[in-house]
């Protein structure tokens, strides 16, 4: 894809108590890296051993690999079947406990990455883009936020729905009962009333004529280690109204939403010197960002400096990080996850998967008992 157009139960026993104990001596928390590969497998990777613990078959044709997590980390909700269906899959035994088929009759419904779960784990949200297939034409219908009760299990139907803007991609639930919607702007919708508020203006920002409109990109969700939603953008500040591209200052920026409060900070971060597909915040220091694409990079946004750039052997769309902030996992595109030391960005390992990750999320599920 292009940037220019510019993510604790008895069943632990069979998973291996030994691995669990060796993984986190100071804590019983266990982290699992989750991703989806073609043709349709959800991989559960033990982050203590960096081995694939199990691979779960996902029904339906490949979707986009978008993954939303249950708050207890035990269930992964995966967008499948050409982005029309959502399956809830136990990461501990691969049981499928939840299924939504959004399309019905002659109305085909797609969700572009946009699935998330409420912070109390009771509701699943999708942004639906419906099209009615008529004999002689397609009728484009209005997009909406659909709300499902997870307790409804297999064959769940929406219990509420609210109109939303077009072009919404990744979404995330806040602890305040809203869902952050990444689209032309970053907005938030109240999941009870449908009221929408502006979080950070992007297409509608007004910073005067010297700032170019931002080019934002929201494809992957990966802020679970810092409980945030991060929307990167690029922009340029011109010297004067002649808008000379050669003398303009080119910047990376970001809108970063605190999912506890629903509040956002927007800032220019580091000079726009190379392409980054996704940025990630270090859980130990919110001034440190990591980015992935053709390079793995490390940035100090308090100093507006890029600290380290590590060349990668091929493009990786996505990345995530261990809870202690020491280990970075870089994935997406092909069939290997590259593992790096977060201090030096040196490669320290890799995980080979059975198929390409393509656009899939790379998420961390933490099981805390």
């Amino acid at each position: 894809m292009k940037l220019n157009t510019l993510v604790k139960s008895s069943l632990l026993a069979p998973m291996g108590i030994a691995a669990l104990m060796s993984a986190a001596p100071a804590s019983a928390d266990q982290e699992y890296l989750l991703t989806v590969t073609r043709p349709g497998q959800l991989h559960v990777i033990d982050m203590a051993t960096n081995k694939v613990e199990r691979s779960c078959d996902i029904p339906g044709k490949f979707g986009s690999g978008s993954i939303a997590l249950a708050p207890n980390g035990k269930t992964a909700y995966v967008l499948s079947n050409m982005t029309e269906d959502v399956y809830g899959i136990s990461i501990q035994n691969c049981d499928i406990t939840f299924h939504v088929a959004q399309s019905e009759g002659n109305i085909r419904v797609k969700s572009v990455q946009s699935i998330t779960v409420s912070t109390d784990g009771t509701e699943l949200y999708t942004v639906q883009n419906p099209v009615r297939h008529l004999p002689d034409r397609f009728e484009i219908l209005e997009p909406k936020l659909a709300v499902y009760k997870i307790a409804d299990g297999m064959g769940a139907k929406p219990v509420r729905s609210f109109p939303v803007e077009r072009r919404i991609t990744k979404i995330a639930a806040t602890e305040t009962g809203e869902v952050i919607l990444g689209g032309g702007d970053v907005t938030a919708i109240n999941t009870q009333t449908g009221a929408v508020r502006m979080v950070t203006a992007l297409q509608n920002w007004d910073r005067g004529p010297l700032w170019a409109p931002p080019d934002a990109f929201a494809m992957h969700s990966q802020g679970e280690q810092t409980n945030e939603y991060l929307m990167p953008y690029s922009t340029a500040k011109f010297e004067d109204e002649s808008m000379n591209m050669e003398t303009a200052q080119w910047w990376w920026g970001m809108s970063r939403v605190n999912l506890t409060t629903g509040e956002a900070e927007r800032m220019e971060t580091v000079p726009f010197q190379f392409i980054v597909f996704n940025f990630l915040t270090d859980p130990r220091d919110s001034n440190i960002l990591y980015g992935s694409f053709n390079t793995l990079s490390k940035h100090d946004i308090s100093k507006h400096e890029t600290l380290i750039v590590h060349e990668m052997p091929h493009t990786y769309y996505n990345l995530n990080i261990s809870g202690d902030g020491k280990t970075i996992y870089v994935g997406g595109t092909s069939s290997d996850i590259s593992i790096h030391d977060s201090e030096t960005l040196d490669k320290i390992g890799s995980i080979q998967l059975s198929g390409d990750m393509t656009t899939s999320d790379l998420r961390v599920a933490t099981i805390r008992d």
Binding site: T37, F62, S64, M82, T83, V112
Partner: protein, 107 residues
């Protein structure tokens, strides 16, 4: 075009490319590089006017362009029309040769 002002580098380059004196430069690129003539999703300029920031190699980006219907002119749209295009090819970088073109009417 004379009433429109390009706001980013790519648009600026497009403006340059449509000027008649630049057409010859484009026509002069007659060498087919790999399979770019038919399926390379990265056959364009990156935001810096070069090729270094395009996805590499193109096999890494192949399904990313098809599954998300991102680049439907160059790769089949697996989200809607051709969901089986990648069947049997789980790893594009290993088995890209098995990925066939789309032939209507079973030709």
């Amino acid at each position: 075009m004379k009433h429109l002002k390009s706001l980013n580098k790519k648009a600026h380059l497009i403006n340059q490319a449509v000027s008649p004196e630049d057409v010859e430069d484009v026509v002069a690129m007659q060498t087919v590089v790999g399979c770019t003539a038919t399926t390379d999703p990265g056959w364009e300029l990156d935001p810096f006017g070069g090729l270094g920031s395009l996805c590499q190699p193109m096999e890494s980006d192949l399904y990313g362009c098809a599954d998300a219907c991102w680049w439907p002119a160059q790769v089949p749209d697996t989200m809607n029309s051709y969901p089986d295009w990648g069947e049997g090819v789980a790893k594009a970088d290993k088995d890209w040769r098995k990925l066939d073109g789309i032939f209507e009417d079973g030709e």
